[in-house]
């Protein structure tokens, strides 16, 4: 894909100087897919909630655009706002709902399906297993793998030290390995 004629920085400048709504609309159009997809991962596939949070993310981005210092990429800044919106919502949900003891099903036996079907089944199991992770662990996996950020960038998004990101990724993978044990090749 060829780079856009107008850069994000130019669009941001137009929004800040002239309050150009069209420029902000272009920014939303460019980044809506990645932000919504990232939030879908964080909310374990809840598309409606992810879209609500994405909307909130862009509104917050508009209000706080002055504080964006262009040190990081605009998308990284958006991921940070999206993650904070997700955390705030998760906290609200925890306060308003009673804790349930429903544990996601453990992946027990995996029959030997065809390779394509096997990959699809593993993908579904992986998505289910992601729900077992804590919000922080899931966010670390999403930023490092799905958003393809380095540990430093992920640390900036998650607002924690790099070491903590590495620990979250390590623990997340331990949990996933335990959950998806049936998929491990026989030694």
């Amino acid at each position: 894909m060829s780079p856009p004629a107008v850069s994000d920085a130019q669009l941001i400048a137009r929004v800040l100087v002239q309050d150009d709504r069209h420029a902000f609309g272009e920014l939303v159009r460019r980044h809506q897919s990645t932000v919504r997809a990232c939030l879908r991962k964080l909310t374990c596939g809840n598309a409606a909630l992810a879209d609500d949070l994405a909307q909130e993310t862009f509104l917050l981005a508009y209000r706080n655009l002055k504080s964006f210092r262009q040190e990081a990429k605009f998308s990284t800044w958006l991921y940070r706002i999206a993650y904070n919106a997700f955390l705030a919502d998760a906290r609200k949900m925890k306060e308003s709902t009673l804790p349930d003891n429903l544990e996601p099903e453990m992946v027990e036996d995996v029959a030997e399906p065809a390779p394509v079907a096997r990959a699809a089944t593993l993908k579904i199991d992986l998505e289910r297993a992601m729900a077992v992770l804590s919000d922080e662990e899931r966010a670390a996996i999403v930023q490092c793998y799905h958003n393809d950020l380095s540990h430093e960038e992920a640390a900036r998004v998650l607002g924690c030290p790099v070491g903590t990101v590495k620990t979250h990724v390590f623990r997340a993978k331990q949990k996933l390995r335990a959950r998806l044990g049936a998929w491990a090749p026989a030694e």
């Binding site: 309050d19 709504r21 902000f24 609309g25 939303v28 159009r29 809506q32 897919s33 919504r36 997809a37 991962k41 879209d51 994405a54 909307q55 862009f58 509104l59 508009y62 209000r63 990959a119 593993l122 993908k123 992986l126 998505e127 996996i141 490092c144 793998y145 799905h146 393809d148 950020l149 380095s150 540990h151 992920a154 590495k166 990724v169 993978k173 996933l176 390995r177 998806l180 998929w183 491990a184 090749p185």
Partner: protein
């Protein structure tokens, strides 16, 4: 695609591959806008604009001030002119003083013109 820092370990190679495959699908998938941008733009706060009645009010206020200044101006002008004339008439000027004054005035004018016409 993969995070630059994530080193796959031999023991969890299968998990690493599964996460990579999932990440590849995630990065490749594009969510169509489906009116999302329009919804966001619809939620933005309205642009700050001066209401029509306020513009008229401000204009009327300035008009009143302008009329008041214009009405008072002849009196002020008369006062200033009389004082200046009294000051000048009260002084004893020699021809050399006047010449000096003219030279000074000319120098200031030419300097100002030169400064204004200079190229950056």
């Amino acid at each position: 695609m993969m995070s630059k820092d994530t080193q796959p370990l031999a023991s969890d190679d299968w998990l690493e591959q599964a996460l990579r495959a999932d990440a590849r699908d995630h990065l490749a998938a594009y969510l169509p806008d489906d009116g999302f941008t329009a919804r966001v733009l619809g939620q933005l706060p309205r642009p700050a604009a001066v209401p029509a009645w306020r513009r008229t009010f401000v204009f009327a206020l300035w008009a009143i001030v302008a009329v008041a200044v214009l009405a008072a101006l002849p009196i002020w002008f008369d006062d200033v002119f009389r004082n200046a004339a009294a000051l000048i008439v009260g002084q004893r000027f020699r021809l050399s003083d006047l010449a000096m004054l003219l030279a000074l005035f000319g120098a200031v004018t030419w300097s100002a013109l030169f400064f204004a016409a200079r190229t950056e």
